[in-house]
Amino acid sequence: MHYFWVPFLPMLGIIIPLLTNKFNRSTCALATALLPALALGLILFDLPAVLDGQAFTQSIEWIPLLGLNLSFRLDGLSVLFSLLILGIGLLVILYARYYLSEKDHMGRFYCYLIMFMTAMLGIVMSNNMLQLWFYWELTSISSFLLISFWSHSSDARKGARMALTITGAGGLALLAGIVLLGEVVGSYQLNVVLNSAELVQQHPYYLAILSLFLLGAFTKSAQFPFHFWLPHAMAAPTPVSAYLHSATMVKAGIFLLARFYPVLAGTEVWFVVVSLTGLFTLLLGAYTALFKHDLKGLLAYSTISHLGLIVLLLGLNTELAAIAAVFHIINHAIFKASLFMAAGIIDHESGSRDMRKLNGLWKYMPITATLAMVASASMAGVPLLNGFLSKEMFFTETLDQSILGSLSWLIPVLATIGGAFAVAYSLRFIHDVFFNGEPKGLTKTPHEPPRYMRVPVEILVALCLVVGIFPAYTVGPLLDSASLAVLNHPLPEFSLAIWHGFNIPLLMSGLAIAGGLAIYLNRKPLFRFEGLFPAIDAKIKFEGAIQACVRWAQKVNQTLESGSLQRYAFWLCFFALALIAPPLLDLDTTRGSQAEYPLNGAVAIAAVLLVAGSLATVIWSHYRLIALLMLSLVGLVVSITFAYFSAPDLALTQLSVEIVTVILLLLALYFFPQHTPTSKSRPSHFVRDLAVASLIGCIIGSICFALMTSPLDSISEFFIANAKTGGGGTNVVNVILVDFRGFDTFGEITVLGIAALGIYKLIARMRLSMRTKDHDGRLWATDKYPVLLSVISQSLLPLFLLISAYIFMRGHNLPGGGFIAGLITSIALIQQYLAHGVDWMTKRVSVSYHYFIAIGLVTAAITGLGSWAFGQPFLTSWFDYFSLPWIGKFELTSALVFDLGVYLTVIGATLLILANLGKLTTKERLTVGVR
C-alpha cells in the first residue's frame, strides 16, 4: 500500500521551506505544498479500498523492547482525518502565502506548519499507541512554535507556553494511560488493543486508564476545565488558528476519543464524565463566545463550544451519536477553517479584529462578507448547510438517552439553549462586522483581499454548501467508513437526508434559531449583565499560578540549599551516621574471638599523647599555629604507632608526609588570620556537630575494635607466599605496591601529579596580601636566611640525598621505597629553599618540576608497558639474578624502575607545589631593621 509513505512525505518536507525561503514567496509556498499534495494523492489512491470498508495496517519493528513499532493503519477514521489535515493544510499554505508579511520568515513558518502537519498525520495514522503518543507530543511542540511565531509579542510567548504546558501535561497523562493500557493488553498495537474492550473494561486499571486518556483528550481538545488555553493561542498568525483550531490540533483530542472509542467507551463512567464535560463545555463556550469583541476570540470560544458538542456526542454511548460526532467533526472543520480565514482576511485588510471597530464591511468587501456569512450560517446550523445536518443529528441523539434518569430531559433542553447561543454569536459575527453602521477608528480602509487569498475560503464555503445539500453523495461513504472505524462493528441504519419530516429535532432547531435571534436582539442588557462580572484573564491567572509555584519552589530551594558548607557537611556526616549506626545496634558484641595483646606502659603513654594531641588540636583550633604544632605531635605518635605495630614502611611514609604537610600548612598559614574568629558559630550548631562527630567516632572505634578482635581469613597469605618467588622482593608491602597491586600505585602517583598541576593552577595569579607584622604586632626579623641555617642545610644536602638513595635501593627487600625516598629528597630540597630562598634556588635549579612529574609518570608507565613486548598484561613485573666477576650476585628488577618513576613523580609534585607557593611572596616587607 502507498499510505505507508504518507506520514513520511511531509516529514521530508519539513526542510523544504527552509531551503526554498531564499527564492520568491510563491515558489516557497509551492515547494512547500508539493509533498503534502503528493501525500494527499497517495491517500486518494487508497481511498476507494477504505471506503469499501477495508482497514490496512503495516508495521516495521523499531524499538521492540519498548513495544514501539513503526506501524501505520489506514481505516475510515484515519482517512477522514488525513483528508482534513492534508486538504485544509494545503489551503492554509495557500492562504498563508498572502497572509504573511514581508517581515515574517516564511520558510520558518512553513517549516513549523509542515512539522505540525506531519505530527497530526502521524497521530491519525498510527497503529501503535506509543507511536501515536510520539506524534501527539510532536503536535504540542510544533503548535508551541506556531503559536509563538511572533515571539516578540509577550502575548504570543505566554499563550504558547500556556498551550504547551496544558497540552504537555495532558500528553504525560496520555503516556501514562497508554503504558497502562499496553500493560493490560500486552501489546501497543492498535489492532490488538481495539479488540480488547472486554479485557480492558473489566481490568482494575480501567478507571485509571480512562481518566488518563480523558486527561489527554480533554486538555488537547480544550474541554472544561482545560479550555482556557485555547483563546490565548489566538496570538498565533491566523493561518495557524485556522489550521490548529478547526481541523487539527484541537481535533486530536477528539480523534483520541474516537480512536479508542471501541475499547474505552460504553461504560457508565465514560458516559457520565465525557457527556457532562462535553455538555458543560458546549454551554460555556457558546455563552462566552457571544461576549467576545475580538473576532478570533469569538471563533475560539465557538470552537470550544463545538468541541464540547462533539465530546458530548461521543459520550452519549449510542452508535448514532458517535456517527453524528464524526459527521460534526467534518462539518466543524470545514466551516471553522473558512471562518478563521475570513477573520484573517478582515484583520489583514482592515487592520483590526475588534468588532467594536469593525462595522459595515459589507460595502468594502462584499465577496468576503458573503463567504463569511454562509460559513457563519453553517456554524449556526441553518438548513441547507452542512452544520445543520450534524446539529440535527445531535439534537436527535440528545433526545434518545436515559442515563441521567428522571433528569434526562435536561440534556436536550440544554442542547437547545447551546444551539440558541450558537445562533446568537453567529448572528453577531455577521451583523456586527458586516453591517451595523460604519467602521470606527480603523487604521486603513478595508478592501477585498488578493484573489488567491480568498480561494481557500471559497473552496471551503463551497464544501459547506455541497455537503449541506447533497450529504449522501458527498460525505456519505466517508462518514460510513469513518464511523465503522469508530464503532468497530457494523453500522446501524441511518439516513443522511436534509429532510426527515416535522419532528422534535426540527423543532429544536427552530427553537434554537428563534432563541438565538431573541438573544442577539436583547444583547445590550446581556452585555451589561456580563459586564457586572470582572473579566478574568486566564493568561494572567495562569501565569500568576506558575509564578506562585516558582516562588514557592524558590523558597523550598533556598531553605534546603542554604549555601552553608557546614550544613552540607553536617548532612553528609549525619546521613553516614544514620546509615551505619542501625546495623551496629543489632550487634551483640563487638569483641571478637581473637586474643588481644596486653597493654603496656609505652603504648598507654602513646595513647594518652594521641588523645591529648587530638583534643588539643581541637581545643586550640582557634590558635592555628598551636593547632599545627599539636597536629605534628599527633603525626609523630601515629608514625611511631605504625612502627610499633610492624609497619615500618608506613612509619617512614607517615613521618615524611607529615613534615611536608606541616611545611605546607605553615606556608599557607602565613596568609591566613592566625586566630579563627569565634563569633559566628551558634552554640546549637556546636552541640549538634559535637554529637554527630562523637557518635561517628564511637561507631568507627567500635567497628575498629570488632575488626581487630575477630580472625580474618584474607588473601594476604598469597602475597607473603609469592612475594619472593613471584615478585622478587622480601618486603611484601613494597612488592604489593609495585607488583601485585602496582596499578594502585600507578593511580596514586597520577593523583599526586594531577594534584600538583591543579595546585599550580590555583597558585597562578593568586593575589594575597602580605602581613607586615606578625599576629602580636611585632615587625618581622631582619635576616631572611640565617647564615648558620644556610651553611648546615647546604652541608646536609648530600647526606640527605645519600639517605634517600639508601631508602630507595632497599625498598624492594626492606622497609623503604621510591615514595619515601622521593619525599626525603624533596624535604632536602625544601630545606634548601627554606634556608636560601626561592631566588637563590631558581638561579641554580634550572629544570621545571612538572617535567619531573611527566618523566616520573612516563617511567612508571613505560615500565608497565614493557611487559607488552613479552606478551604479558600491563605492569607484569620482571626480575632476575645476575652475577658479575668481582662483585658477585645481584638482582635486577623492573619494579625498581617503576619505583624510580614513583620517586621522580613525588619529587616533581612536592617541589612544584612548595617552590611555587614560595614564589608567591618575594616582595620586601617591613622588618625590625628598618623601623
Partner: protein, 89 residues
C-alpha cells in the same frame, strides 16, 4: 639484665615524654611549645631505639633516622615561621 635496663630506660623516656607534653600544653609562649615538640622528637628516637633493642631487631633504625632528619627540618620551619612568617621566601 639488658631487657630490664631497656624497660627501665623506656620508663624514664616515657616520663620525659610526659614532661614534654606538659610543657607543650602549658607553653606559655609558642617558642616554648616548639622546644617541647623538638624534644619530643629526640625522645621518640630514644624510645624507638630502645624498642629495637628490646625486640632485638634493627628494623626500627630507619624510623629513628628519619625522625632525626625530619625533626630538625620541622623545628627549623616552625622557627622560621615565627621569625619571618614566610618560611620559603
Amino acid at each position: 639484665m639488658l631487657s630490664y635496663a631497656t624497660l627501665f630506660a623506656s620508663g624514664l623516656i616515657c616520663i620525659a615524654l610526659a614532661l614534654n607534653a606538659w610543657r607543650l600544653i602549658v607553653g606559655p609562649t609558642t617558642p616554648d611549645r616548639i622546644i617541647a615538640v623538638d624534644t619530643m622528637y629526640i625522645n621518640s628516637i630514644a624510645l624507638i631505639i630502645l624498642l629495637g633493642l628490646y625486640q632485638g631487631t634493627t628494623s626500627y633504625y630507619e624510623s629513628a633516622l628519619l625522625i632525626a632528619l625530619l625533626g630538625f627540618v620541622s623545628t627549623a620551619a616552625f622557627c622560621k615561621y615565627l621569625l619571618r612568617g614566610d618560611i620559603i621566601e
